[in-house]
């Protein structure tokens, strides 16, 4: 149980702390194994022991040899898609988040539709979209049906983060702006948005990573051009070499970079605020 800094810690702190460390080991252990095995030597297999060390599997990945698909193109497609999904998720969620500050007619229905979209078995969403496109005679493609399918997944998550962000926003800043004669657009652009910006970056981060890693909803809807997770899924059944782990390492590193960039940006904004002594800077 919580004690103040300086007081002795209860025994339960150490028990739970140990338990927490085990949990972290459980979370990261397998990922670290993948990372190590991706540097397996040329004669090594998909498990330990390591037979020497090499970057052979990364080279295979780049050159597209060794019975794997066109990974570089899939990677570029996934990045493009994730950027578009991140921008759309942030814009749509912030806009909707502003709407939900009032109870408007249909707000409950819209909220529960978004929640349903989140809890829906992913394969159905893809199936439904693919079926709809087929019956209407349209072709499924990456940036139509594929993007739509991914948004049904990124938007509800983004919406939750937006609610948390906007819920913490102190409306007195907005009222002050109104009193000074700001129009509603000025109020949003110059007051609300700068204050909630860290949260908005968080929403975009969710949009990006959820889209970048999404495959259950994409599998039936992206058409002929596969995204990276779909290529990886296809590889899992065919690959018999550590090239799969090399790919795992690369894609995890990309996720880490995006995450770090987002966190650093948020950190810089927060620090500037703390430094300027004002809650909002624009």
């Amino acid at each position: 149980m919580m004690t103040e800094v300086g007081q002795p810690r209860p025994k339960s702190f150490y028990v739970l702390g140990f338990f927490f460390l085990l949990f972290l080991a459980f979370l990261y252990g397998p990922m670290i194994v993948i990372f190590i095995l991706s540097f397996q030597g040329p004669d090594g297999g998909m498990s330990f022991p390591m037979v020497g060390r090499s970057t052979l599997w990364f080279q295979q990945l780049l050159s597209g040899t060794g019975r794997i698909g066109d990974i570089p193109s899939a990677f570029v497609r996934s990045l493009e898609m994730a950027l578009v999904a991140a921008a759309l998720t942030a814009a749509i969620c912030v806009s909707a988040g502003m709407a939900f500050r009032r109870r408007f007619r249909g707000s409950g229905l819209l909220f529960y539709t978004a929640v349903s979209s989140l809890v829906m078995p992913s394969l159905f969403v893809g199936f439904g979209i693919a079926l709809g496109f087929k019956e209407l005679g349209w072709k499924t493609s990456l940036f139509t049906s594929g993007l739509g399918a991914q948004l049904t997944w990124t938007l509800p998550f983004g919406l939750m983060i937006t609610f948390a962000t906007i819920g913490r926003f102190d409306r007195r800043y907005e009222e002050a702006a109104t009193d000074l004669g700001a129009s509603s657009w000025q109020r949003f652009r110059d007051v609300i948005l700068p204050i909630i910006l860290p949260g908005v970056i968080g929403v975009a981060l969710f949009g990006f990573t959820l889209s970048y890693d999404e495959f259950a909803r994409s599998s039936l809807t992206v058409g002929t051009a596969n995204t990276l997770p779909l290529e990886i899924w296809a590889m899992t059944t065919a690959a018999t070499s550590p090239v799969l782990f090399a790919l795992g390492t690369v894609t995890t590193v990309v996720s880490f970079c995006v995450l770090t960039a987002a966190l650093v940006t948020i950190g810089v904004i927060m620090r500037r605020r703390a430094g300027s002594g004002r809650p909002a800077t624009s």
Binding site: L24, G29, G128, L155, T252
Partner: protein, 308 residues
């Protein structure tokens, strides 16, 4: 007031000009416009496709195509097939097991972070440490168990080294065990995050008061923390249960195709282009999932929890 009059007044009083020349729009209309993009995407990519699935579930089908009809044969097939019961049983078994494990695990992780870690800085660092894997690829996280649990995997090497067994354990990989481990690995965070969110809102004064009144840690957890974090627990449970019930990929990869859930059955029908039966199975699963979610949400007010 005209603009000239306003300027004149400003010149006299020094007050800023309020350029509110237009009447503001009524709140409801503004809200609708702001919510419209979200509503549009959900309508086109979620509601309409779902309606399509429901409609097609009544259709007839042949070898290559589906034909508009209104027949209940697809549903009759779902309810009379002995496979359906088996798949549902398996899925519910996974769901119950994973829910129980993630609940205990998630609760204690959240509890430790919120009530034992004393500084905000450490709380943020440790919460981030728990969340980072969520931002990495699920497929990779599934695959990562293979070199860990395999016959020549790390766990088997470790067990063999203890000389407790003479043969590598075969049940570790491509088994129900592996499936549950991967589910817990991937979905525990979906429990941790909402529970942390709920716990963070608990008034510390309550706990201090309980402690001053002589309550033990166990009593505080049972009588204060669990009741006050039940919305988070409900939300986390919904996320975990629906993810497990809707999963197809994890069970396929980690059971090595030996085990199957409800969605596996639907995927098999999809691969055989049997769209109407797949649609009917989907609708049945949908009703089961929705009933479950509504049941859990009826216990708590989720919207209040999220919006506050």
């Amino acid at each position: 007031m005209s603009l000239a009059a306003r300027l004149e007044q400003t010149a006299k009083t020094g007050a800023p000009i309020a350029f509110r020349t237009k009447r503001p729009w009524p709140g409801a209309i503004v809200s609708w416009l702001q919510a419209a993009p979200l509503a549009l995407v959900l309508l086109l990519m979620f509601v309409a496709p779902l309606a399509f699935v429901v409609v097609v579930s009544f259709f007839d089908y042949g070898r290559v195509d589906i034909y508009p009809a209104f027949m209940l044969d697809n549903y009759v097939e779902v309810f009379t097939s002995e496979v359906t019961g088996r798949l549902y049983l398996k899925t519910l078994e996974y769901a119950a097991l994973v829910e129980a494990i993630t609940l205990v695990l998630g609760f204690f992780v959240a509890y430790y972070l919120t009530f034992h870690v004393r500084t905000l800085r450490w709380r943020i660092v440790l919460l981030l440490a728990c969340s980072i894997p969520f931002f990495t690829s699920n497929v990779i996280r599934m695959i990562s168990w293979i070199p860990f649990l395999g016959r020549e995997g790390i766990l088997n090497d470790a067990v063999m080294a203890t000389h407790l067994v003479s043969q590598p354990l075969d049940f570790l990989l491509f088994s129900d065990f592996a499936v549950v481990v991967a589910y817990v690995h991937i979905f525990t965070l979906m429990m941790v995050a909402p529970v942390v969110n709920s716990m963070a809102k608990i008034d510390r004064g309550l706990i201090a008061a309980a402690r001053d009144a002589g309550a033990t840690e166990g009593q505080i957890v049972r009588d204060i923390i669990i009741p006050l974090s039940k919305t988070g627990i409900a939300l986390g449970s919904v996320l975990v249960l629906t993810q497990v019930m809707g999963d197809y990929y994890i069970v396929r990869m980690l059971s090595g195709g030996k085990s199957a859930g409800v969605v596996t059955g639907i995927a098999t029908q999809l691969n055989a282009f049997e769209y109407p039966p797949a649609a009917a199975s989907s609708v049945v699963l949908l009703i089961v999932v929705i009933t479950l979610v509504v049941g859990i949400f009826s216990l708590v007010d989720v919207r209040k929890e999220l919006a506050a």
